[in-house]
Assembly symmetry: C2
Homo-oligomer: 399 residues x 2
């Protein structure tokens, strides 16, 4: 009986900050996720409005539905249209040395938002979280946070508008006060309902959600937003982080704060197929920003799951199944030229283009992307990291 | 059935940081508490050893058994005898504006320890705890913390050896890292076993024990104890705080730290009788440091429970029951002259001295004590508080 229930549970789709798996091990059903989480679908009218308000083409991730859901994004745009600014908040749990392309997605998009709206940005490195969840030492978590900060900075953030902080360095003062205010409003039972903690989880895990909630409130950053307690906050993140911010939005009005708005991304698929996020334990499941051209060539050719047919004859006859094809998915993220992407999809889907040709183009795109990132990262010195992480005012951040 | 179980529970002795009540509403059984908590009795050999090591008479609270239990106090004395120093850590939850005499007991004793051993002292004001438990605002908790700091400073602490901090101001950095290290080692189930949390308690409460644990470790105070990670810690406190430090001592070796030692006090009895701690909700249950001579006179005469007999004839015949007599208990805390106290106990117990006479002497002793405290407190300015609470090195603190 117990076993049967276990099996039934395993069949259901699970998406939370620590686990992402589709029903029966299949693809994530994002429509169902929107329903379950209670967020809104980001439809074309938003994309058009962003284009109009920012006078620049919407980011690939926006026009191709990578960022597909939101909470109160309309209120951010309303405020912006009235001439009010907002600030961006995103983050990373520094659990590994090298980032893969999926890790870069929210940062690439956040950089676009920062540039397009000209707004300040806070980036939280949850070294405390990873110290607790991955059982890393404090020192190792902080080392990884700084290493990851270099990759994040390499995405091109504007230092005059960006504050990066490690929890171990920054928690305290106004930030800690907001943690306590949030914690007072969340019962243990409620936290269990949202995060699924068990009695055998340590109390550090139970204590953590307020740490991720606090940056949603401008008063957590007195050196940036002093006297701007009404400033709205927009959080670009992958949708697995939604539980933290559902909790935060539930608490916010009870402690006199605005609810943060969210714009949420789907998951970047593994090379082996679109059944969830990539796995850190299998290096062949992802392209890392540290991969060489040779690595990329090998991984795409050897491990990318494709929708091509088993023989050339069949392929010419039926064409590729684009729905499951990873090279097409990856190109949809990173090939910016809409016309070329459409052309590839049309020809590949019709069998006129072969899997090898699509893979070749993907390898070019990824190699260029990774090479560009590597060059940018090499230019990020320890002094640059210190400068981004200095607790300082950001003058003219709203100009 | 359920009701019966409830009643059975109510009959048991309960001592934890939030509730102190004897079995069947009676007196606390301290021997049983020592057994249950697993601490040690502080016997005469300790008192003699302290006297010998410090070359001064042991404090009244020591020689009269107010501080009656310990954990590893012998190790502190061993270290001191070897020429190694230690540091003292005590604290207060600032939930009310005015302190009563029971609140002063640990601080008066801590001042004696500081003077006798010439060691540094950290005093934690858990404004975050009171903000969470008493549902005070952050601002009100911090205001109370500063007000309470004035009363604490008035006990005569040496500013060159004393650091007072508010959690809201000080949590962060090395202190926060230690909080995380502790939290990683305590499961929710374990915390429930120690502190009795329920699912309806908010997660702020669950997060708090590591905050009270952290000052037990010298690395939480880099501005004081940098490079002195091996420094031993001695915590003078009332025994209701033992659960926090049982947890701390359990965790310490797992994170590479020394266990803090403890020296633990019994509770200062209420005017109405020795059935637990005094009640903040009943001003007549305690003498406050803000009480006037008239208040003290009224409270002692009107509310102090005595062991005197109901008529003068009976009193002359049987004498007072000293075991339940509050004036005698209070004199045992605050009348320093051993000979006079013995004389009063002998005559009162034999019926030669009347209750009114004992009360009169107590009123004199308390009025002088409270008057002395009031004068000392009046001299504590906001600048003095700032000076004690400044994050600063304490030069020559071990001299």
């Amino acid at each position: 009986m117990e076993k049967k229930e276990d099996n039934q549970q395993e069949e259901e789709q699970v998406v939370n900050p620590w686990e992402v798996s589709g029903k029966d091990g299949g693809k994530i059903d994002y429509d169902k996720l929107i329903d379950k989480f209670g967020c809104q679908k980001l439809d074309q009218s938003f994309i058009d409005r962003v284009e109009r308000l920012t006078s620049r083409p919407p980011h690939v991730f926006l026009r191709r539905g990578v960022f597909f859901a939101h909470r109160d994004f309309n209120e951010i745009l309303d405020a912006y249209e009235r001439g009010d600014k907002f600030y961006l908040y995103t983050g990373r749990g520094p659990s590994s040395e090298a980032l893969h392309l999926g890790h870069l997605v929210p940062f690439m998009f956040t950089k676009y938002l920062q540039d397009a709206f000209k707004v300040p940005l806070v980036i939280q490195l949850t070294d405390d979280e990873k110290c607790m969840w991955k059982n890393l030492s404090v020192e190792e978590s902080q080392r990884l946070a700084r290493e990851n900060a270099k990759d994040i900075i390499a995405c091109g953030f504007d230092i005059s508008r960006t504050f990066i902080f490690s929890d171990f360095d920054y928690v305290g003062g106004a930030f800690y006060k907001n943690m306590v205010k949030v914690a007072k409003c969340v019962t243990y039972n409620k936290a269990v309902g949202i995060f699924g903690f068990t009695g055998e989880d340590h109390i550090g895990k139970v204590s953590f959600p307020p740490v991720q909630a606090a940056p949603s409130f401008p008063s957590s950053f007195p050196h940036l937003f002093s006297g701007k307690d009404d400033l709205l906050c927009l959080i670009p993140c992958a949708i697995d982080q939604d539980p933290y911010f559902r909790m935060t939005r539930d608490v916010a009005p009870r402690i006199g704060y605005h609810k943060p708005a969210l714009i949420e991304a789907s998951f970047f698929p593994a090379l082996q197929g679109e059944t969830g996020k990539m796995s850190a334990s299998d290096p062949n499941s992802a392209i890392y920003v540290t991969d060489s051209a040779k690595d990329i060539n090998y991984k795409v050719n050897k491990h990318a799951y494709t929708g091509g047919q088993e023989s050339m004859e069949k392929h010419r006859q039926y064409g590729a199944n684009l729905e499951v094809d990873i090279p097409i998915k990856y190109l949809s993220f990173f090939l910016e030229d809409d016309a070329e992407l459409e052309h590839i999809k049309k020809d590949y889907g019709a069998g006129r283009m072969l899997t090898g040709e699509v893979k070749k183009r993907l390898i070019e795109v990824l190699t260029e992307l990774v090479e560009r990132h590597r060059t940018a990262r090499a230019a990020v010195t320890d002094e640059t990291v210190d400068a981004f992480m200095a607790v300082r005012p950001l003058p003219n951040m709203f100009d």
